[in-house]
Symmetry: C2
Subunit: 346 residues, 2 copies
């Protein structure tokens, strides 16, 4: 697949590469394996913010993040031959665990390429999911990130063994899978005035935006990024790909350096606005989610909530009416010691 | 109502004061107001413990605890006259917030009697729920716990104003309301081998036990208490009421000194076993719930999980079969700073 480069314009012919029908097909494929996650509400939070808010809790999804939807959909969509040969993914985060669990459930072999200095909990988690059905569904290949490029190592293993690479976000089946979170939310709560979605590579955002525009056409879809990693916000504003490498933010899931070949045009077509929040706003949103929704969230997971809170405080209520807002909470995979440290900051 | 005293035998004529029909009627009454809370599962936790576990998450109930079910059912069951006069409750914990929210939703006036040194968050929470509909549904009366007995103060206000006292657990309508948590769990997951329920005054335990025995007759129902506050365990074993005042445990919701006039006979009739866990086991269970279920739990909230983990480690698997176990997670109202401190202990 051709890589995007700084300054590239989005290829708008790819803006129709994922449609609401693809999202609906994905919903059928993942039914029974993925959890239909609960939509939580809080009367106190609503009263505090002056909105009626609906939280789609993907931290309560299997592997603790929405990533399972896309991984499962992409692997389910493989033809028989490709399934027999297996898949490869490189990730040190939630995508690795999602591929590992999907491999176990579907009986597809997976190779997961991870840096050897990845956090022990991520390595352990990925291994546990590969073995969860009682026999191993694949293997973890580690590499030294100082000497090896994961794309090169992963590419060569995939070519050698005939494996299909499942990328973490820039793939139509992955995007359609992530969109099922938005589809379920809108099916459950009906039309919304606004929908806030966290943004890393734009897979969840574009998938949910496709669902929202189909189910609730007047819904304003807002992508929310960490201020220090505002590549998608600047790309959206300028119409040219901007990149930010290794941004200094606690939102480790949103450190992706750029939108993708598919997600950039989809975001341009379906998303209405981009917003950024700083780390202090993210920590404040984590506290709100823990106190009022009683859920464990990772920093990236509450970008949408942080963006919503900021918008409500800046814009206030529109026409005096109570806005119906949706928020996708993307994940809850946070080390508890790190969490205790973040709470200490607040 | 006559108080129970140390050494009293349970009045077994009261063991039929709450039936499965009462629990079903309660379910109808609270539908639409109470949340049908999600049942969460974790494949990794199951693999780790060698069980198939279903967690009924009452921390995701309104006000963050199962207490809302009983309060709402008892207040909904009042006749027109009693509703017009209003209710009174004394509590410094989840019951106060439950009564306050139920009062707001039902348009019933409530007086909540709280110690003036109650944690600020509890006072603020109760006040917020009294005002959540936009107008005040009642008032908080504070007292100095060094000079005043809450029962006397509450009793005299109730007599003066003709208010109905809604006790936190020892009342048939409260017990039936709490039982709806167990009813929903069994409706959703089908028969269980075991059900673990945390135990303070025994309202949740007896209500859930009634539901479990009706829906899944062979299900073993286990009540779990903090080791330092093992009054119900000793009462259950001896057949005579034992009391423990102000036990030193982090499980503040289970510091109730004794089972009640109704709950003691109900526990004797419907519960199969009692178990205790120490604070370290509670903290370990909190970590498991946060890591694998991604939920915020208060110490009392995970007594059931802690008891289940202990039982699994002691007993192992029965006949090599995977046990289907239910666990009621009772609440999530924990101060985040206290939570960070508890995580630091683990």
């Amino acid at each position: 697949m051709a890589m995007m480069r700084e300054g590239d314009a989005p290829d708008m012919t790819l803006a129709s590469s994922v449609t609401i029908d693809d999202v609906r097909r994905a919903a059928e494929r993942i039914a029974g394996h993925a959890v239909r996650t609960p939509v939580l509400t809080s009367a106190r939070l609503d009263a505090m913010l002056g909105v009626r808010a609906f939280f789609k809790c993907e931290n309560l999804q299997r592997v603790g993040a929405f990533k399972f939807r896309g991984a499962l959909n992409a692997m389910s969509a493989l033809d028989g031959d490709a399934r027999t040969r297996g898949v490869l993914a490189y990730s040190s985060g939630n995508h690795a665990q999602a591929i590992a669990l999907a491999a176990s459930l579907l009986g597809v072999r997976a190779v997961i390429v991870m840096p050897e200095d990845a956090p022990r909990t991520k390595l352990d988690g990925t291994r546990a999911y590969l073995e969860i059905s009682g026999r191993s569904a694949g293997e973890i290949v580690t590499y030294d990130p100082k000497t090896t490029l994961r794309e090169e190592l992963g590419g060569s293993i995939a070519r050698e063994r005939g494996l299909t690479i499942i990328p973490p976000y820039d793939h139509p089946d992955v995007i359609a899978g992530q969109g099922t979170a938005g589809l379920e939310l809108l099916e459950e709560v009906g039309e919304l005035d606004e929908l806030y979605v966290c943004t890393g590579g734009g897979g969840l955002l574009s998938g949910c935006a496709i669902a929202a525009k189909a189910m609730s056409p007047r819904c304003l879809v807002v992508g929310v990024e960490p201020e220090a990693g505002d590549d998608a916000t600047r790309s959206f504003a300028s119409g040219r790909l901007c990149t930010v490498r290794n941004p200094g933010t606690i939102c480790d899931g949103a450190r992706t350096p750029y939108l993708g070949r598919y997600t950039f045009p989809l975001v341009v077509r379906y998303v209405d606005a981009m917003a950024t929040v700083d780390d202090a706003e993210v920590v404040a949103a984590m506290r709100l989610a823990m106190e009022h929704l009683k859920i464990v969230v990772e920093p990236t997971g509450v970008l949408g909530l942080a963006g919503m809170v900021k918008s409500v405080r800046e814009v206030g209520s529109r026409d005096g009416a109570t806005r119906r807002v949706g928020v996708v909470v993307s994940g809850g995979n946070v080390d508890l010691d790190a969490l205790a440290g973040l709470l200490g900051r607040g």
